[in-house]
Symmetry: C2
């Protein structure tokens, strides 16, 4: 299996970006011990005040799906949902480079 | 200064994606010793055959500009230009997470 990556663009409801960043950063912390999760970086935009981008790299797509099924992830998604206006994911296949 | 990140989408000319990937991977290799470059990951798309995405994280925006001015970078850009149909960059500001 090849590595699996995503750029996930979240649009927060007005005024909710930082609350959503905090939930996503908890998600990043909970993946610290997951060896199948190679990167989970939370980013904001200086030009789009409600935008958050998450850069994810997983060992394979199944590992990503397994994380979504975990109880802690499902609980975080429930808390995040009311803060989210929209989500768009771009799937990518990491080839390599610095940091992987 | 805060960290500086980019998602750079390259559209290769038909049939040139893998040649462009190779040049970008050389770029990643040449940043291995640059401590200001924290991530430089080359990705392809399984659905868009001419697309390459590069995920970059730098210590700050000045470090990124300095890398573009280096002789080896300029030489690589000269070799890459004939292979490129288009480039779009999305600037992002990394907050943190796993892998930084």
């Amino acid at each position: 299996m090849s590595r699996f990556g995503m750029y996930v663009k979240f649009t927060a409801k007005p005024g909710q970006r930082d609350n959503l960043v905090n939930i996503l950063m908890e998600g990043a912390a909970s993946e610290q011990s997951t060896k199948e999760c190679e990167l989970y970086i939370v980013n904001v935009s200086d030009t789009e005040p409600e935008t958050i981008w998450v850069t994810e790299v997983w060992s394979d797509e199944e590992a990503h799906k397994a994380s979504l099924a975990r109880e802690d992830t499902r609980e975080a998604i429930q808390r995040a949902m009311p803060l989210i206006e929209g989500v768009e994911a771009t799937k990518i296949r990491p080839v390599g480079g610095k940091g992987l």
